[in-house]
């Protein structure tokens, strides 16, 4: 599950954040996101940073989750077959790489 915080002041959702990422306010309501959303835009990393060099090519997407939060995350599966608007679902939360999604 993906923990998120809905800001009491600006109302925006921040994934995995101790304070609001948009206005800096503390507090707010904690909730678990469903892990479902859609792909807004993406890239395929062909030249990776040294720590992930062996994993390239891989896709990184900008996703909008069903609850309205946005997240930049690794997208597992064939990076050559993605499309804007495609439904996405959370696979796992990796200790190093953070949340990893795949096409639903």
């Amino acid at each position: 599950m993906l923990p998120a915080r809905r800001c009491a002041e600006c109302g925006k959702l921040s994934v995995n954040a101790a304070t609001c990422r948009f206005c800096g306010a503390e507090g707010g309501e904690l909730l678990d996101l469903s892990g479902h959303g859609r792909l807004l835009s993406w890239t395929v990393i062909r030249i990776a940073p040294a720590r992930y060099a062996a994993e390239a090519p891989y896709a990184v997407g900008l996703l909008e989750l069903d609850e309205g939060a946005r997240i930049t995350a690794r997208v597992a599966g064939d990076p050559e077959r993605l499309a804007a608007g495609q439904p996405m679902t959370l696979v796992t939360v990796d200790a190093a790489r953070g949340p990893i999604f795949q096409p639903a």
Binding site: W42, R46, V60, I71, R97
Partner: protein, 385 residues
């Protein structure tokens, strides 16, 4: 606030500068700027040096003090500024403020970076530290990757074509070919750009700047003393320095950088001009798409029209506004900490009428420097005196 002028500029060539360290190239650019200004080094009262990643890629920190010592500046205060790829623009801004506020009469602002000693994987990882590690980059995103996502969003939202984006590279490589300081001295065709290898889809090799070494420097003084030192001083009409969200997911719209918009608003207001008054601009084309986005954020073209502007020649040397006559970061090279001062080097030479790709009758120039995925930006507006 006092009016500030630029009385000297210097720049090393950009490229692979074999056998010269980070301090060596910073010192070389500063010496050239001091000689250009005909200011004895004893007069300099403060030094600001932009550098992003010397510790990681060149094993060298504390470069401001070391540069001051090597120049023989007599123990003056020296400060390193860091704002990723906007480090040099911040150095210049602090120098301008130091004189405007009356703290100093003569200031040296410089930027330097040494990147070619490291491997591409080390450089890619190092540059990625300008992003927010915990909130975004740890997933494996890179800077070309961030701009790949932005590129696809711009294409989807505005119908910008891959060909229009590629034409930025064609334009800038064509201009860089004639600039003796440029890393790339060869024009490229649109076909070569679109067939170059993919780096971060849909961006390809020729959409990206090279890995570069280089340094640039600027000498500043009060405007009312400028003619004592240079026959063609350049006025600093206004500056802006602003920050913005560091991740793509925090941006309401990834096709615009709020930091650029804010810095430009501040600089235009200070200068008392509008975008339409600018004749020549050096803007932060860290990728082809970044030129399109910045040309919209700075107000030169309407939202979504940056791609069309390149295709129609509006941003060519003889267009509505000449964009990146130096060849930009893409062709001239992008030693990241140096870029902000190197842009001003080019624009001062434009306003003096000494540039390699001279824009005719130019009187007002604008430099735009961007750090990270828009976490910081500086804008500097210059004019003839």
């Amino acid at each position: 606030m006092r009016d500030v002028a630029i009385i000297g500029v210097g720049s090393t060539p950009f490229g692979k500068l074999e056998g010269r360290g980070l301090i060596d190239i910073a010192v070389a650019a500063c010496r050239e700027a001091l000689a250009d200004a005909r200011v004895p080094r004893e007069k300099i009262q403060a030094l600001y040096v932009g550098n992003f990643i010397g510790e990681r890629l060149a094993n060298q920190g504390a470069i401001a003090g070391m540069t001051a010592n090597r120049l023989g500046l007599g123990g003056i205060p020296a400060t390193k500024t860091e704002g990723a790829c906007a480090s040099g623009g911040i150095a210049l801004r602090l120098g301008v403020l130091g004189i405007a506020l009356g703290l100093y009469d003569f200031v040296l602002a410089a930027g330097a970076e040494k990147m070619t000693s490291a491997s591409t994987a080390e450089v890619t990882a190092g540059l990625a530290t300008a992003g927010d590690e915990e909130a975004e980059m740890r997933c494996g995103l890179t800077f070309p990757g961030s701009f790949g996502i932005i590129t696809r969003a711009h294409m989807a939202r505005y119908g910008t074509t891959r060909e229009q984006i590629g034409l930025v590279s064609v334009k800038n490589h064509g201009l860089g070919a004639a600039n003796p300081k440029s890393q790339f001295r060869k024009p490229v065709t649109l076909d070569e750009v679109l067939r170059s290898r993919l780096i971060a889809d849909p961006l390809r090799l020729f959409d990206c700047p090279p890995i570069s070494d280089g340094a640039a420097a600027v000498v500043l003084c009060p405007a009312d003393r400028a003619r004592e030192f240079h026959a063609k001083p350049v006025r600093v009409m206004g500056t802006g320095h602003a920050t913005g969200p560091a991740t793509l997911w925090e941006m309401d719209d990834v096709t615009t950088f709020p930091a650029t918009v804010r810095a430009a608003r501040e600089a235009y207001h200070a200068a008392g001009i509008a975008a339409a008054d600018v004749d020549v601009v050096e803007l932060h084309d860290c990728f082809t798409t970044a030129e399109i986005v910045a040309s919209e954020d700075l107000g030169f073209f309407p939202r979504g029209q940056g791609g069309r502007a390149v295709e129609e020649g509006w941003s060519a040397l003889d267009g509505k506004v000449a964009v990146n006559p130096s060849g930009g970061l893409i062709a001239k090279g992008h030693p990241v900490g140096a870029t902000g001062c190197a842009q001003v080097y080019e624009l001062v030479r434009q306003l003096r009428g000494e540039a390699a790709n001279q824009v005719r009758n130019c009187e007002i120039a604008l430099a735009h420097n961007l750090g990270g995925t828009g976490v910081v930006s500086t804008v500097t507006i210059l004019g003839t005196m």
